[in-house]
Symmetry: C2
Subunit: 427 residues, 2 copies
């Protein structure tokens, strides 16, 4: 099995940002669908939504009290109250068919439509109701200003206003808005279907007992979780044997069933690195190699290609490198498929808590943990950060970028970090 | 319907932290269950998990190369290489039954078990293979150090080590760890079943056309989304009419079907505020009122009780107040039911970008948006922040705490914020 070794070493490394840009040129445009508001949480809006109505769409009372004419009670005080006849009461959800005219008031609840004629609402606590000759009246004991406690039509939302843009992720605030605006069905992007295929004859299933030289397959589960976190639907295609023809067959089969494929393992220079051969031989017949080496650590043999307009990623089999490779390269494509236009990540600046002296001729991406000290963002390099190690992934809430050629980075120095979406600050 | 008005005004307000502490005294302990690793994403681990094996559990090669005895190649250079006979090759997943003895090397792949005898691995790139008289040999062209490129047994994880504590939320890193440690079934807390009941005759369904005085029910969807975000299972119990007896009947029915209940609306001083009456009359028969007023804005009439050991929350019907009430009071209970011990939130400090001059005799909680400027956390008060308004909820990624008695807070001043888990820093 001494194949293609020289070709593997001869791979040309591209810069990370160049690799990212190439990928973004080949993002598949997904169709949209309508989903019930009951099941739209965390989906992505597929088109800009505009308000079809004003909110409120009627003059709404801000509290429980009396709708009055403010001019009649401009100077009301507890000692010198304005006395008005209560001619009606309006529970929320109902409207009065009476009009507030001089000398009258209408009892009204929070959220009720303010009756015609009235231009202010005064709260119960500033009034006193009384009965006189069978007639209910009210003493207004505080001055009333025009417009007081009335939300005007369109105060919150005016008809035609943009509610949310394409790509918006639906959370509690978006759902509330969609419900209030009558979106029983919500236009969202299809969830990208992302295949996961692992390679490596050392891999055994999670339920199997360990044997010398064997390890359980953890990358498939990790990748599936990453895919789900960013809105994709993961489809597991199992583990391929170390056989080039069989890998090609499995990749082609998977490509028919998904929008994008991630293969982990087999991309390096080992004798059985079938994915390295796969990417080396790609080209023609609707296949294009984007890159098969990146000037970065970990994960330098990370590869990507386009097959029939769909992206195929070859990530490292080392869990740490696999994780980082996904966050740097796959995530942007997955988000773009769901309408996120920005092709780059929002990076933060953070202050290193400790020295870091592992220089590198290439850009290095290490798992870090951001914390907050007063109003400042600090970041620590996590222990057990080797590309082969996975235990630190669970603690990571960011990836620290160490630029190529850096020597020692001293505690207190500022570094750039890529935040991860996992409970950064939840508790 | 002139009922209990004086009782409503006589409610005694408790401080927010006191309300929070009372709630935490009554958190229901949920049972645990086992769930497949395929469906454990975002669930919470129910017991501390310890490593049953070391990782790696064999001496693992860190790269593709040759397993050698370092003493033989301590001084190897390209000009003066050490020449060794290649006696075997080990693909990942396999082991060699041969031993590396002086004068020999074994070809080995990344992740393979290092054969007995060898104490170092040298990468392909620093070697040259050649054939002599039908025998494969290798020139070691760089010096080799003892232990080089070998991960020792337990380098990453030692047997017995704590892997993750109870309450840990399962993300990609946790799943990778669980898979590698053989957790086909994962012990997790049951998802808390949280009922949602809305009150208010002004509420219409999302699919209905607006009518004067009517608004669509948005709180039920918003609360369900908040519940799901924090790991709960929301169960919708519809909208209760403004009828005290019917509300009690619906609450009792709901309580039998869930672990916790949230009712929105009807807690204020209006004539039809049926929940205010409900909480006022509670006590005895396995019912305990915790509070029916909180010294805060928005949401001062927010109430809570315990019925048959289960928490019932009465949140404001105003969407802004309802949202904040959930985050301040319900979220901690929901997380505690899933093993999160900390009874308080992790608050951050942030710098105000603008002046805020809306003083308040009570603690005020306003929707804010945190951003990062260099390594500093800044926060802006969102527009349309009234308790009746919902449009700003979608933009909020934190709640700004304005302490009771604050006057003007100037731009540049530091404030305390409660972060929300919604895409704080994602892009």
């Amino acid at each position: 099995m001494m194949i293609n070794r020289s070709q593997r070493y001869a791979r040309k490394a591209v810069k990370v940002d160049h690799a990212q840009n190439m990928i973004m040129q080949h993002v598949l445009q997904l169709k949209c669908e309508y989903t019930s508001i009951d099941s739209c949480l965390h989906r992505r809006i597929s088109e800009p939504l505009y308000a079809k109505e004003c909110m409120p769409h009627f003059r709404r009372s801000g509290l429980d009290g009396y709708a009055v004419l403010s001019a009649e009670a401009l100077f009301a005080t507890p000692q010198n109250p304005t006395c008005l006849t209560v001619i009606d009461e309006v529970p929320a959800g109902y409207t009065s068919n009476k009009q507030v005219v001089p000398g009258t008031a209408i009892r009204i609840m929070t959220g009720s439509a303010v009756p015609d004629g009235a231009d202010a609402v005064i709260m119960f606590e500033q009034t006193e109701e009384y009965q006189e000759e069978g007639q209910i009246s009210v003493r207004i004991k505080h001055k009333v200003n025009p417009g007081q406690n009335i939300a005007k039509v369109g105060d919150e939302i005016t008809s035609g206003q943009l509610l949310m843009g394409a790509g918006t992720r639906i959370g509690p605030g978006q759902i509330a808005l969609l419900a209030s605006m009558g979106y029983e069905e919500v236009p969202v992007f299809h969830r990208p279907i992302v295949g996961v295929l692992t390679t490596g004859s050392e891999l055994i299933a999670v339920g199997e007992l360990l044997q010398p030289g064997r390890i359980r397959n953890s990358n498939a589960y990790m990748l599936a979780a990453q895919i789900e976190q960013y809105g994709g639907l993961a489809v597991m295609f199992g583990t391929a044997p170390d056989d080039g023809d069989e890998v090609v067959r499995m990749i082609n089969d998977a490509m028919e069933k998904c929008d994008m494929l991630i293969v982990s393992g087999g991309v390096s220079v080992g004798d059985y690195d079938v994915m390295a051969d796969f990417f080396t031989t790609i080209g023609g017949n609707d296949t294009t190699l984007l890159f098969n080496k990146i000037a970065m650590r970990p994960g330098s043999p990370t590869s990507a290609a386009v097959i029939n307009n769909k992206l195929v990623f070859g990530l490292s089999g080392n869990p740490g490198a696999c994780f980082v490779g996904f966050e740097l390269l796959v995530r942007q494509a997955l988000l773009a498929m769901q309408g996120i236009e920005k092709s780059t990540y929002h990076h933060l600046q953070a202050i290193m808590t400790d020295d870091y002296d592992k220089g590198c001729p290439h850009d290095r991406y290490i798992r870090g943990r951001m914390t907050y000290f007063n109003d400042q963002v600090k970041v620590s390099v996590l222990e057990k950060n080797n590309s082969s190690m996975l235990i630190s992934i669970q603690e990571a809430n960011c990836i620290i970028m160490i630029p190529a050629g850096s020597k020692v980075i001293a505690a207190g120095q500022q570094v750039e970090v890529i935040p991860l979406p996992y409970e950064i600050t939840m508790y």
